[in-house]
Amino acid sequence: MRRERDPLVVGRVIGDVLDPFTKSVSLRITYTNGCREVSNGCELKPSHVVNQPRVNIGGDDLRTFYTLVMVDPDAPSPSDPSLREYLHWLVTDIPATTGANFGQEVVCYESPRPTAGIHRFVFVLFRQLGRQTVYAPGWRQNFNTREFAELYNLGLPVAAVYFNCQRESGSGGRTRRE
């Protein structure tokens, strides 16, 4: 069996949220609450991700703008993702080589608070064709990144990274309903 070498595919981010793409721009997400840089599949606690992270985008031309989306495809629980995907953050018009502070925060950062199971939280970076007005969706749940990209002509992502997060006290134990 061919070993899959892309953690995004193994973690099924490509599939559940995104289509296969080629990474072309560097994307570094760092939660300063503990100097934790996000690497695919790493586990962070809700207390670490309370505040929005520092975002560093690559690229070379300050005139190119990027959109950053953060979604939770496992809302409300990975075994029953009826609210897939839950939009946590949406920033547009980020100039290359800068960070999210330089862009337009269309949907403000909502701190992840998983209640059931271990959720994946995905950051996706799209390249914009130019500066564009992006309208915030009416609600955060049932967001569809693919459709969003199509709607605003963003094409395929240029970078993505994800981390896992579960309840502060862990996900084990029986729930009372059974």
Binding site: P7, V10, G11, S39, G41, E178
Partner: protein, 282 residues
């Protein structure tokens, strides 16, 4: 509950009719089978076959009674469900068994449809009972071992035949690839009134959810490992590159310093005078 959710994707149809559609697919497949024997059939072909077979047949709602009458009915909910739950359809195909072997299953497939299938399984009559034998060791999946272990428990429940038909699905749950046996497997329909059934169904549901959770966990672990491995190779390369650069830089610097030193070294000390010319005599 996930099972109920799947059913509601076809809201205008009563539950039984979607069950009916399941067996209709079986019937359809049987009729259209000749072209699809053996070999691996891609998911796309499967879906196409479902749609092509379902289109000409009008909507019908049925109650789940005589298996014979149901098997002749057209399937309806498929096109609707297509847009949202194509994977479910494929799953039903697999359930139908037929002569298909490999079916790639999308994510989340097992999470909803297997549960759904099992709850329906109690209500759908099995038309042909075949041995479970060839099932499975569904390879192609990273994690079959747990599936195999779990399968042993499957035949325990009272629905014996159902247990046999469930066996392969149990194994298939935690993997993305399900291997249907060469022999066709049907779903057994049975009256739902017995409370014993419900208890065992609950158990099965829980077992499935556990399996899925285990599969997700393995996936997570593997994704993390892959990421770390790639990070390691990347960092090693960078490290080697940087070390080389540093060495080169140091060499260059040393060379430059040497060049600057030499002229100083070659400068002669002022020649000694034998006569006192630099000091004054009082």
């Amino acid at each position: 509950m996930a099972s109920s959710k799947v059913v509601t994707t076809s809201p205008d149809l009563p539950r039984q009719s979607s069950i009916c559609s399941l067996s209709t697919i079986i019937a359809e497949l049987q009729q259209n089978d000749t072209s699809k024997t053996l070999g691996s059939i891609s998911m796309d072909e499967l879906l196409k076959s479902i749609y092509s077979s379902s289109e000409p047949i009008p909507n019908q709602t049925q109650t789940v009674d005589g298996g014979a009458s149901i098997s002749r009915q057209g399937s309806l909910s498929l096109p609707k469900e297509m847009s949202t739950k194509t994977v479910d359809e494929v799953w039903k195909e697999i359930v139908a068994g037929s002569d298909q072997r490999h079916v790639g299953m999308g994510e989340g497939l097992e999470e909803m449809t297997l549960e759904d299938f099992l709850t329906k399984a109690g209500a759908v009559r099995e038309e042909d009972v075949r041995g479970v034998s060839t099932v499975v060791v569904g390879p192609g999946i990273y994690d079959v071992d747990s599936g195999i272990n779990g399968a042993d428990q499957f035949p325990m429940p009272t629905e014996s035949v159902e247990g046999s038909s469930l066996l392969p699905f149990g194994k298939g749950v935690d993997g993305r690839v399900v291997e249907a046996p060469a022999a066709t497997r049907r779903v057994r329909r049975r009256a739902m009134e017995e409370p014993v059934d419900k208890a065992t169904q609950q158990k099965q549901r829980r077992m499935i959810k556990n399996r899925e959770s285990a599969a997700r966990s393995r996936e997570r672990k593997q994704a993390y490992t892959v990421e770390l491995e790639s990070l390691v190779t990347h960092l090693e390369e960078e490290n080697a590159r940087l070390l080389r650069e540093e060495a080169d830089y140091n060499k260059e610097r040393l060379k430059q310093l040497m060049e600057n030193l030499i002229p100083v070294g070659e400068k002669l000390r002022p020649p000694r005078m034998l006569r006192r010319v630099h000091s004054m005599q009082w």
